[in-house]
C-alpha cells in the first residue's frame, strides 16, 4: 500500500483564523437583514454581542444586559436545567487494519474502471488506545466514494461510521475522508459514557489505508476514564500496538473490548 504523502496543514489552523475575526461579525450583527429575521421569526431574542456573557436577552447594551440577565437567570433557575458542560476533552485512538477482518470491501458498483460516484466501501478495523497499550474495540461503517481527485492522486469519500469502545459505549461520526490529506469529521453522537457527545474529530492518515490516528475533541460528556487517556504515541509509519494489546491479553484490553 502506498505510504502517506506529505500532509497538508490541518484544518484546525484555518479554524483558528476564523475564530479570530470577531470584529467583522460584530459589525454585521446589528445591521444584517437575515440576522434580525430569526429574532422575529422564531420569537427569540438575540443576545448582545458581549462576548463575556453567555446569556440571551433582547437588550443590546451590555449594562442593561447584565441586569436583565440577572433577573432572567433567577426566573429560569426555578426550572431543573441540566447543565451541559462545554469543556473540550481530547481523546486519541489508533485505527489499524490488520487484514484479518476482510476489510475493506470495495464495492465497485459504479462499474467504471476508475473510482467513481457509486462505489461503496464498507469497512471495519481494530481500535487501540492512543498509547497503543490497550485494544479498545473496532471501527465499523461505510465510505461512499464521491469523486476521484486526479491532481492529488487520491479520492474523496463521505464516511459514516462508529468507534466501539467495549463496555464504555460508542462514538458516531460523519464527514469527509480524503485519502490524500487530513480531515475533520463531525461527532454526531454516542452511547454509554459518550451519550450526548458532540464536537469534531481530526483524522490523520499515517499509512494509507492501514494506519490512522484520530484526535477527538469531545464536548457534552462527563470526564473520560483515565484508561482511555494515556499519553499518545506520536504517529509514525512504524507504530504498532503492544504485544499484549495485539494478542488481546486481559491486561492489554479494556473491559469487554469490542471484537
Amino acid at each position: 500500500m502506498a505510504l502517506s504523502t506529505s500532509l497538508k496543514p490541518i484544518s484546525s489552523v484555518k479554524l483558528a483564523e476564523h475564530r479570530n475575526s470577531p470584529p467583522r461579525s460584530l459589525r454585521v450583527f446589528g445591521s444584517d437583514f437575515s440576522y434580525s429575521k430569526p429574532c422575529e421569526f422564531h420569537g427569540l431574542s438575540i443576545s448582545s454581542p458581549n462576548e463575556t456573557s453567555s446569556f440571551f436577552t433582547s437588550s443590546r447594551s451590555s449594562k442593561r444586559f447584565t441586569t436583565s440577565a440577572f433577573f432572567f437567570n433567577k426566573n429560569k433557575q426555578a426550572e431543573p436545567a441540566t447543565p451541559k458542560p462545554t469543556k473540550v476533552q481530547q481523546l486519541h485512538v489508533y485505527e489499524l487494519n490488520e487484514r484479518d477482518r476482510s476489510s475493506p470491501a470495495v464495492l465497485k458498483l459504479s462499474q467504471k474502471p476508475i473510482n467513481s460516484l457509486g462505489d461503496l466501501v464498507p469497512f471495519t478495523n481494530k481500535l487501540y488506545s492512543g498509547d497503543l497499550q490497550k485494544r479498545i474495540g473496532i471501527t465499523a461503517g461505510l465510505c461512499v466514494l464521491i469523486q476521484h481527485v486526479p491532481e492529488r492522486k487520491g479520492d474523496r469519500y463521505e464516511a459514516t461510521y462508529s468507534f466501539y469502545f467495549g463496555d464504555y459505549g460508542h462514538l458516531a461520526v460523519q464527514g469527509p475522508y480524503l485519502t490524500y490529506e487530513d480531515t475533520l469529521l463531525a461527532v454526531t453522537g454516542g452511547s454509554g459514557i459518550f451519550e450526548g457527545a458532540y464536537g469534531q474529530v481530526k483524522l490523520h492518515q499515517i499509512v494509507f489505508p492501514m494506519k490512522l490516528f484520530y484526535t477527538f475533541y469531545l464536548k457534552g460528556i462527563p470526564d473520560l476514564p483515565a484508561e482511555l487517556l494515556g499519553n499518545p504515541v506520536p504517529p509514525s509509519p512504524a507504530v504498532e500496538p503492544s504485544a499484549a494489546a495485539k494478542a488481546t491479553e486481559p491486561h492489554g484490553t479494556i473491559l469487554n473490548f469490542t471484537k
Binding site: S47, A81, P83, K84, Q174, V187, Y198
Partner: protein, 248 residues
C-alpha cells in the same frame, strides 16, 4: 440533493415520479430537461419546530469567560440559506438498483454529490456529498421516501453533516447531526425545499450551538423558483464569486 435521474421518473417537475419504472442507471447527459415548472405541493411545516427557547445553561459570572468566547451566540438560532444544484457534471446521482426490481424498492442506493451556492446565488460555496437509501416507493404520492445521510461542504469554513427523510414529493426537515470548522458542535435542523426535482433544492438551516456566522455566508436569499441559476461568475468559480477554499 438530487435523487434518481429524471429519466427514471416522469421527467416533469412538480409531478412526482410515476411508480412503474424500467430503470437502469443512465448517464447524466441523457436526463431530460424539466419542462413544467410548477412547484411541488406546498407543504406547510410548522415553524414552531425551529424555535426552542432554551434556558441559559451557564452561570453568568466571569467564570463563563474561561469557556469559548462564542458562548454568547450558542443559544440563538441562526438561519443559513443554501442552493443545491445538480449541474450534471459530477456523474451524480449514481442510482444503484441493488434491489433488482423494476420498481424503486428497498435495497436501491443512490450516492450523490452536487454543487452548493449561497442563498443569493452569487457565490459558490462547495458541494454536497452523501447517500440516499431508498426506503419505500409511494404510489399514491407518485414518489419515493429516501433516508438521506450527507454533508454540506463549505470550503475552508468546514462542513455540516445531516441525516433525515428525503421525500421526492414534499418538503422535509432533516436533523443536523454535527459539523466541523466554524460549524463544530452545531445542532438543529434544516428544511429541504425541492424546487425542481431532482436538480434544484433550496435549504434553510436553523443552526444552534455555534458562534456567529461570518457575513460572507449570510445574505438575503433569492426566492426559490424553477428558473433559479447561480450567477455566471459563481458558476465559473471566479475568485470573487467563491468562498475561500471552496470545496469542489
Amino acid at each position: 440533493m438530487a435523487a434518481s435521474s429524471s429519466a427514471v421518473s416522469s421527467g416533469i417537475i412538480g409531478k412526482p415520479r410515476s411508480t412503474s419504472t424500467t430503470l437502469s442507471f443512465l448517464p447524466a447527459s441523457s436526463i431530460k430537461l424539466i419542462k413544467n415548472p410548477s412547484l411541488t405541493q406546498n407543504h406547510k411545516l410548522s415553524t414552531s419546530n425551529c424555535s426552542t427557547f432554551s434556558a441559559p445553561k451557564q452561570d453568568f459570572t466571569c467564570k463563563s469567560q474561561a469557556i469559548s468566547s462564542d458562548n454568547s451566540a450558542l443559544e440563538k438560532v441562526q438561519e443559513l440559506h443554501v442552493y443545491e444544484m445538480n449541474e450534471r457534471d459530477r456523474g451524480s446521482p449514481a442510482y444503484l438498483r441493488l434491489s433488482q426490481k423494476s420498481v424503486n424498492s428497498l435495497g436501491d442506493l443512490v450516492p450523490f454529490s452536487n454543487k452548493i451556492y449561497k442563498g443569493d446565488l452569487e457565490k459558490r460555496i462547495g458541494i454536497t456529498a452523501g447517500i440516499c437509501i431508498l426506503i419505500e416507493n409511494k404510489p399514491e404520492m407518485k414518489g419515493d421516501r429516501y433516508e438521506a445521510i450527507f454533508s454540506f461542504y463549505f470550503g475552508s469554513y468546514g462542513h455540516i453533516a445531516v441525516q433525515g427523510p428525503y421525500l421526492t414529493y414534499e418538503d422535509t426537515y432533516l436533523a443536523i447531526t454535527g459539523g466541523s470548522g466554524i460549524f463544530e458542535g452545531v445542532s438543529g435542523q434544516v428544511k429541504l425545499h425541492q424546487i425542481v426535482f431532482p436538480f434544484k433544492i433550496f435549504y434553510t438551516f436553523y443552526l444552534k450551538g455555534i458562534g456567529e456566522l461570518p457575513a460572507e455566508l449570510l445574505c438575503k436569499p433569492v426566492e426559490p423558483h424553477a428558473g433559479v441559476e447561480a450567477v455566471p461568475a459563481a458558476k465559473a468559480c471566479e475568485p470573487h464569486a467563491t468562498v475561500a477554499g471552496f470545496t469542489n
